[in-house]
């Protein structure tokens, strides 16, 4: 089973602007998920998805936070399964190349997958549909 998800995005913004967006608590809370977060190794962060969407908590520890690499563990509440999220930024001519890596996904197989699946069903489904609703509205508003 595939164990790593890799995503790449080119952003037309300076590397420091992007770095702040992924490491500053207020900014993470704005575009991603309500965050109690500090980009300091050892910091135990908590992400909380919106209450009205009945979303779940994600917890973990910051492992590395040197510009421009950010690594933290990612544990969905009640699963006890540790996966790892790694953000890497690189300066390009157009702006910034963002590489995201989420590894350890196969740890969710077997019994753990059932737990993960249950928490996913209660929360993440809503999160995703909430996100796409938001994006739809946003598109219509323009």
């Amino acid at each position: 089973m595939k164990d790593v998800i890799r995503k790449e995005h080119i952003l037309n913004h300076s590397i420091d602007t992007v770095w702040n967006a992924i490491t500053k608590q207020e900014q993470i809370s704005n575009w991603f998920i309500k965050a109690d977060f500090k980009a300091e190794p050892g910091y135990k962060y908590t992400f909380t998805a919106p209450e009205e969407q009945n979303c779940t908590q994600i917890m973990g520890e910051v492992k590395k936070a040197n510009p421009y690499t950010l690594i933290y563990t990612w544990i969905v509440a009640e699963t006890n399964i540790e996966t790892v999220v790694k953000w890497e930024l690189e300066k390009t001519e157009e702006g910034t190349r963002l590489s995201l890596e989420h590894s350890g996904i196969s740890n969710y197989s077997g019994e753990n997958a059932i737990k993960m699946f249950n928490s996913f069903n209660e929360g993440w489904n809503n999160c995703i549909s909430g996100l796409s609703e938001y994006l739809k509205q946003d598109v219509h508003a323009r």
């Binding site: 089973m1 998800i5 952003l11 037309n12 967006a21 995703i128 994006l135």
Partner: protein
Amino acid sequence: MQDKITKILKAIADPTRREIFHALVVAATALPITHVSGQFNISRQGITKHLKTLEDAGLIKIKTKGRERFCYANTNPLKEVNQWLKFYEKFWDGALDNLSDYLDKNA
């Protein structure tokens, strides 16, 4: 959908059931249940229980021919599990789109 995937995941969570399923996939043909139970050091009753769980999950099919019951593997349901695991793919796609949107508006 949810029940179906939960059943599949429960079925493959047990190492013995994974071995039975694997043996049937490798065999690539219908095997008599007596043959299957002969391969594993478990009672006929135990095997029947495992096969029932696998059958409920849609991972195997059981057919009766004469006096003998045959079972064979069906790997199609695993595709659904795989699709579910793709959840995170979509999740990150959405998050990164959101990030780029946010930066365009605020930076």
